[in-house]
Structures are given as structure tokens and as C-alpha cells.
Symmetry: C2
Subunit: 523 residues, 2 copies
């Protein structure tokens, strides 16, 4: 039996476009004499569909798109992920087996998570149990998503897992070992077909794979590329060398997330503020890689507090990347605000004056966006977003925040990766102390702990869920830890108003919201 694994890059909600792509892959697979073509979880609607599943119109149109696909299924079998009605008021997250223009069998997801990348338990009913489907004399144990971890598949001669596994940096080996372990334990081949590309805040790496009954990987699609790979159950295949995840994957994931957010929303061009600092430098690199240098505009907006090196660093970056570049001083507008509040066009030096500078910059960028059609992207990172070290309606402005899930220390790691062959990001940007430059000689570390300490504490809290006691046991100062956690809680209101971030670093299942009312204190 010859099987095609199609790691599809669907657009969430675009039923017509997705159906068309699916039909094209089916026809291509038929041309290559495949028996079965396998698509990822919810690939007809794109993952995560979220609230669209509550729209009767959307669910009806899904059904119509499914019939449209089914009419093209001839001479080849198709296993397709989509939502199907249970005949009453509920939906299943299903894998449909289609043959000769008819749905001949189905399985559906049994174990629905309430707290995950997509709160699927809000929309789907759990299916009774993982099912085995018969296809051309083979017994296929079909699982949707993580059901494969727990499914019983006695008597099956092939396990198929259709999935939409959000990419999270550093997790490839562990997930790969689990899948290999299942194949080995069951002693039958396992086919894993994953979504690829970005949809909303999620990115999917693809890397659809086949493991043989010894748990060895014998077929594998590339990371972050929409493609189809074939394998034949009857052939003896050589094991492939294991893929090794490194920082290049994280960069690639951000680029793909941004690229797909833009292309799927019909956007082409991006504008961002360049400060000469490391965050805006990284975002500029991501945008240039994702959209092409000609589609990126960097704007340097100096104030009286901007240092000479900032302008040089911003300009050098723009030149190195070949992106468009403008300089717009904020001084005249800043003085008008000072006149309104201080009488004279001179500052008194309070936080209101610091913030209004960031907000003037936000307004200038949004003006360019509204007038010329560039989409503004924000340059916030996870460290500052976590503790609220940012100006709401200022540097937090943007339709998308490409690196808002990346800790500051990892921002440097990615920059160093980008600079591995030549100096794209000016060396000075990477070695100078971070500063918002909103008052004379301001440094981030005047207000925040050193970033290596801050990121370590944030990681223990966000990524690992440790208690304060557990952090103290690891050698961190209790007062400092509590101070950081209280900053996180107090800035919840800002994060509620933050742009969509590309989520590829923090654990998706921990993207919970704390209440904005902050009656709780760590002490």
C-alpha cells in the first residue's frame, strides 16, 4: 500500500481555498499511484478554527466543502481531518475515510483538552473511543492528535495519527521519541501527518513522518514546508538520520508565523519602529526574511534623549537588510504636548513625559500604516511583556507582535544566529546595555533585574510552574522572585491589550490568563 502524507498549510476559515488545495493534492497523489492520501487534523477548516465553530453558517459551509472534496475522491482513498456533526447539536473532531466519492468510515478525537493551544473542549464532543478502520485489506488504527498516546490499537497493521501539533521550541526530540516509542511498542508502522505553517498565534512545523515497527523513522517531510511525501508499506526502507533541532528552527518558526499571518490576511508590507536596539533589530530581520526587504519599512524616531549610536545602529541595520528607512524626529510634537501640560515646551521629567514619547512614536507609525497601508508590527519581547516594562498604546502598538513570546536573553541568541556568517545586526546593538532612551542615561536595569536573572525567574514561573519555595531552593532570592511575580500579576491589564504574539516558546497549555483584579500578592 502506497501512502501520501500531505502536510497541508491551510488558512483558518478559508474553506474554498483549503478544499481546492486538498483536491489538488489528491489528484497529484492519484497520479503517483497512491492508495491513500492522509491530511492533518481539521485541515479542511485550518487549525485553530476557534469561535467559527459556533457559527451555523460556517459549520454548514464546512459540510459543503467536504462534499466538494469527496466528489473528487476516485481511485484513491483519502483520510481527511474535519469537524462533523453528531446529528444533534454537537461536533466531533474527526478523521474521515473517503473512497469512491463516499465517506466510508470515520474516527474522532476522544480526549479533548480544555486548556491547550485551542480550547477544543469548548467546541467538540469527545468521541467514544479510538477506532480501527479497514481500508483495502489493511486495518488502520486512526487517532486524532494526542489520542495516539493512549489509544489501543490491537489488530491494526498501521497506526495513523492526524495532528495539528503547535510548534514549541526545544520539544522536537521528546515528541519524536514518543511517536517512535508507540510504533515500537505496537510493533507496527506509525504514520504521523501534521499541519504546517502559521495560523493566528500558532505555528506548525510539519515534519510529517513514518516510523516502522521498530520505531525507526523511514520517511519524513521537511520542517516548515508544505509538501507531500510518499512511502510504501511493502517496501523495505532504510532508517533516516534523526533531525536535530537548533536555534535556526526557532527563527524559521517566527518567520513562517509572520509570513503566513500577513499572506493569509492579504497583507504585503510591514512598518516598524527602529530604535537601534536588539528587539527592533531582530523583528526587522524576521520581517525582511518573511516579506522581502522591499516590503519592510523601518522608521527611526529620535528624541532629545536618543543617543548618537542609536541612529547609527538603526541606519546600519536598515542598510544591511536593504529595507526602506525613514527618520522622523518626535521633538516638535513632544514640545506641543509639553506646552499643553507644562506651559513651557520643556520637560519636568516624569513618567507621563516618558510614556508620551513612546505614544507619539506609536501615533507616527500608525499614521504611516493608515495612510500608506503598511501593517505595524510591535517589537515587544516576552521579558518586558511579562513584567509590563513597556508603554501601552506606545511601543505595544501593532497588529502582530512577532517576538512577544521570546525572552530577551533568547532574542540575543537568535540575533547571534542571524549574524553567524556576516554582521547583519550591528555589533554595537548586541553589546550595548538595553535602554528605552525615554530619559537621560536611562538603562533597563535601572528598573528591572539583570535580564539573565529576570528570564530565569520568568521561565521557572511560566514554563515550569515552580513555586517561590522551589525557586528559592534553586538559589534565587525570595524578595526578588516575589517582586518579579507581583510585576507579572500587576501588568496583566497590559497583556490583555497586547497584539497577537507568535507563540513558539512558552508552553501553549500554560497560556492562561490571571484575573486583572490583583488581590493576590506573592510575599
Amino acid at each position: 500500500m502506497r501512502i501520501a502524507l500531505v502536510q497541508l498549510n491551510p488558512t483558518v476559515g478559508d474553506l474554498k481555498g483549503n478544499a481546492l488545495k486538498i483536491i489538488q493534492f489528491i489528484e497529484k497523489a492519484r497520479g503517483l499511484n497512491c492508495d491513500l492520501v492522509v491530511f492533518p487534523e481539521l485541515s479542511l477548516m485550518g487549525y485553530p478554527p476557534q469561535g467559527l465553530l459556533k457559527s451555523k453558517d460556517f459549520v454548514r459551509d464546512c459540510q459543503a466543502a467536504l462534499y466538494r472534496v469527496a466528489r473528487h475522491v476516485d481511485g484513491v482513498g483519502v483520510l481527511l481531518g474535519t469537524a462533523i456533526s453528531d446529528g444533534e447539536n454537537g461536533l466531533y473532531n474527526a478523521a474521515l475515510l473517503i473512497e469512491n466519492r463516499e465517506i466510508v468510515g470515520y474516527a474522532a478525537k476522544c480526549s479533548l483538552k480544555a486548556l491547550s493551544a485551542f480550547d477544543e473542549a469548548c467546541y467538540f464532543k469527545p468521541f467514544r473511543e479510538t477506532d480501527t478502520l479497514t481500508f483495502r485489506g489493511h486495518r488502520l488504527a486512526v487517532a486524532v492528535g494526542d489520542d495516539v498516546y493512549t489509544s489501543e490499537c490491537r489488530d491494526a497493521d498501521l497506526i495513523i495519527d492526524i495532528s495539528a501539533t503547535p510548534y514549541r521550541y526545544g520539544q522536537f526530540k521528546q515528541h519524536n521519541d514518543i511517536l517512535a516509542g508507540i510504533a515500537k511498542k505496537m510493533g507496527v508502522p506509525l504514520v504521523y501527518v501534521n499541519q504546517v505553517g502559521g495560523n493566528d498565534d500558532l505555528v506548525f512545523a510539519g515534519i510529517s513522518r513514518v516510523f516502522d515497527g521498530q520505531g525507526q523513522c523511514i520517511a519524513q517531510a521537511r520542517p516548515f514546508v508544505e509538501e507531500m511525501v510518499l512511502f510504501d508499506l511493502n517496501d523495505v526502507q532504510q532508517p533516516l538520520p534523526p533531525l536535530r533541532e537548533d536555534i535556526s528552527w526557532l527563527y524559521k518558526a517566527l518567520v513562517v508565523g509572520v509570513r503566513d499571518y500577513f499572506s493569509k490576511n492579504g497583507f504585503k508590507k510591514a512598518v516598524l519602529g527602529l530604535s537601534g536596539g536588539v528587539d527592533s533589530a531582530l523583528v526587522a530581520c524576521i520581517m525582511a526574511e518573511a516579506l522581502g526587504q522591499e516590503n519592510v519599512l523601518g522608521v527611526y524616531m529620535p528624541s532629545r534623549y536618543s543617543s548618537d549610536h542609536s541612529k547609527q545602529d538603526a541606519q546600519a541595520l536598515a542598510e544591511n537588510l536593504g529595507i526602506q528607512y525613514r527618520v522622523i524626529p518626535i521633538e516638535d510634537i513632544f514640545k506641543e504636548y509639553l506646552k499643553v501640560f507644562n506651559g513651557l515646551p520643556s520637560p519636568v521629567g516624569d513618567v507621563a513625559e516618558e510614556n508620551v514619547q513612546a505614544r507619539i512614536r506609536g501615533n507616527l507609525l500608525m499614521f504611516i500604516s493608515n495612510r500608506e497601508g503598511w501593517v505595524l508590527v510591535s517589537t515587544s519581547n516576552r521579558s518586558e511583556a511579562s513584567v509590563g516594562y513597556s508603554t501601552i498604546y506606545g511601543d505595544m502598538c501593532g497588529g502582530l507582535a512577532p517576538i512577544a513570546d521570546i525572552p530577551k536573553t533568547v532574542v540575543y541568541d537568535i540575533c547571534n544566529y542571524i549574524n553567524r556568517n556576516r554582521e547583519v545586526i550591528p555589533h554595537n546593538t548586541l553589546i550595548k546595555p538595553p535602554s528605552a532612551e525615554l530619559r537621560p542615561n536611562q538603562k533597563d536595569e535601572d528598573s528591572l533585574p539583570p535580564y539573565d536573572v529576570l528570564d530565569a525567574v520568568l521561565s521557572m514561573y511560566i514554563d515550569d510552574g515552580l513555586s517561590v519555595d522551589e525557586m528559592v531552593d534553586k538559589g534565587y532570592d525570595r524578595m526578588l522572585v516575589c517582586k518579579i511575580l507581583n510585576m507579572v500579576q500587576r501588568s496583566e491589564y497590559k497583556r490583555r491589550q497586547a497584539p497577537l504574539a507568535i507563540r513558539v516558546f512558552s508552553p501553549v497549555e500554560k497560556a492562561v490568563r490571571n484575573p486583572v483584579v490583583h488581590g493576590y500578592r506573592w510575599e
Copy 2:
């Protein structure tokens, strides 16, 4: 048996403060010779605790607060809502029966909803079944929240439902009839104890009640007030006249939601932009009622496009309410932006110039907020938030959006209620056509359908979940309906960055998020 119903107004997360209040009510009830004191669902931590439940520190501190309360339980029984550990890694949403300083029994919530006011299924494990607890010779069927709808309570001589039921306008009678129906069907008294006050985006009406075995209400606490009411199982009590919900409840809910958001976060003073229009007028009334007139500052910020009546209406409103009032023209700052982009300080008349006016106003208000410590509130309503008829980082700025869940047509209804005795809101504000005044002679209805049509379509979609076909069957134009629904989908990115709204109008379980990537079109 004498029972005290305590409709508590806890602060979410404030374990020490809530425990102290609970202890005070317990002592008060003991002083009144009560046998049992009943508190609402999750009252020790405040509802909705959200992601705090994922913090090990918080869960440990909850346990400590519970023991602190238990030490004060002497001579009276207490039924308290809080989270308890299942001994492994999970939590139950429990009702604990405490007597003589010890937890002598418990029940917990069985049916957890994934999509509701608080996504409780993310945090709690479902309990096996509703339990009956024995207390001083009585069999108490104890249910948490909506479990009371489905619980079996054979052999019980009293049903107790501890709840945190978010207030939703217009639902009182239906919910009351359900509770009365349960008491009548079971033939035993039903005690319903509800949280009161605001926490985050939710408001709780209280109105804790006792129904006798005929389903007649025989004891009842007031709406929106933290208080304790007593009743005695052995006394024969006269049925109370039924409460009738009207628009005053909706106004009261908004006031309570705002008041508690401010007081629980330690805020005292609010600033808002006054435009002379109906939305800012209503928000000013709510703020003055919630915080006191001396704690509210209205700022009128005219541009070249502001009409004379706007200034008169804004000023008259401020005078009628007795709030503080300032006028800050935006013209000089606007000209500086025009100079940057147009060369001359004169407009070309595009949307970028419209939006920057709203953003200058946002900056001025945030400047006042940052310098003087007033918290900015936004004046967005549900109609404009739904279709994105607002300037992001402009009029959407604010820590809280008091009326962002109120349709424009209902904004008028509440204003008329406020004006029932005297003209608080200037008559002219209520009769002039709505306008953003961002260009000459602009009217909302140049860009939007008339508000009565818009609100009808939005209500069918948001509140009732109708399909386009169903709306067309009701006589609405298909093209118009699709246009509105596509506007809703396209503005999802703005709502993601909107301030917290007080949610008292839309169904809480439908507060779902659509994807920002808008691959789906209604057509």
C-alpha cells in the same frame, strides 16, 4: 434549624481579606444563634480565580486561608465554597462543611463547563456526583453552581446551591423560575447563595434566596448589596412578592462592576474624554455614581471638526453631574502631525488624519492619567466594538471599558432611565445623530447601517447564534447581514486589544474568540 445566607463580595485572589470577611460573618451569625452559615461558590478566593489556580503558591495559600477560617468555626456550622486538592495533581470546586474547627464533609462540582464565564474545566476535575451531607440531624443536598439543575437529591430535607452566577440583563425571571421549579419538584426547601459585586469583567447580582417546598420564595437578599439574610427551617414564612427586573438593574450592574474594579485594584479616580455624545455621557454618569462626582474628570478635546453643540453638551453634562471638567484643544498637536506628513499644517482629509485625532486624544488622556493618577476609562459601546467602528490606540484607550458590552440602542435606554427625574444628560445629546466628528459633517450612519438595524443583526448573531438564512427569514437583507458579519470578523484584531469590558449583556458562554486570520467570509 436557623440558616444564614451570606452573599459575599470577595476580591478575587485576596485570600487574607476574604478570609477576614468570612470570619466576621461567621461570628455575626453565631451571635444571632444560627446553626449554619452558607457562603457562595469559590468565595474564599473570589470568582473567577482563573490562572491563579495554576500557581502552586496560590493553591497553598488557599489551604492556609481555609485553615484560618476553620479555626474560627465553633458553635455554628459553615458551608464554604473553595478549591480543594484531590490529593494528587487536581483540584475540585468544592463546598466544605465545617464544624467544631474541622472539615466534616464536602461536596464538589460535577458538571464543569469549558465555555462559560470562567473556563472552569481548565482548572478543576469533575466530582463524581452531587452528595448529601448530614448536619445536626438534617440531610443537606449540596450542589455547586448549575449542578443544582441536574442533581438527584433523594432523602434530602434541604437543597443548598452555592453559586457564583454572573449577572446577565433580562435573565432574572427565567433563572428564578428554574430554582423555584427545582424546589417544587423535590418538595423540599432550596437555599441559593450567590456571590455579589464585580470581579474583573463579571458582575454578580447576589439576590440569594430561599424557596419553600412549594417553590415560593420565602427569604431574599437584596440585589447588588453584600449582606446576610437569615431564615429558620422550622418557621412558617409568608411568600415574598417576586422581584421584577428592569433597566435600573442593568445600570446598577454597570455601576457595581466599575466601583468594584476600582476599589479592588486600589484605584479612586477616573478620567474620560467627553465628546458631547451619548456614550461618553453614559460612562460619565456611571463613573460619578460609582466613584463620587469629585473623583471623576471629564476632558473635552475639540478639533477643527468639533461642532459648537458638542462643547455645550459636554460642559452641561459635567455641570449637571458636578464632575471635574477640562477643555484641551487638540489643534496645535494635530498641526504638528500634519506638518510631519503633509509638509504644511493643513489636512488632506484621509483616514490617517481622522485616526490621529482620536489618538492625540488618547495620548492627552493617558498623559493626565500617568501624571495625576486618574485611571482612564474607555467609552466604546458593543455596537461599535463589534464592527470595529473605533480608533485603536485612540478612543479604545483605557484600563476599563464600562459600556463595551452595551449595544448603542440600549445605551439610549439607560440614558433615558438616568434622565427619568431630571435632565442629567443634556436632551440634545440624546436627539442629535451620532458622529465621531473626525471630518466635516461626519455621521456614524455614513459608514454604518442605522443603529436599530445594526443592533438587531448583532443581537441575532451574538446573543442568539442565528444563521444568515434565519436572519433573512426574519426579514433582513442578506447582503446587509453578510456585510455586518464580515465587519465583525475583520475587526477581531481590534477586540483582542480592547480593554476589559463589564460583561452584563451578551451571553457569557458566547464570549468566544474567532481567529484573527479571516479566511472565512459570509456571502
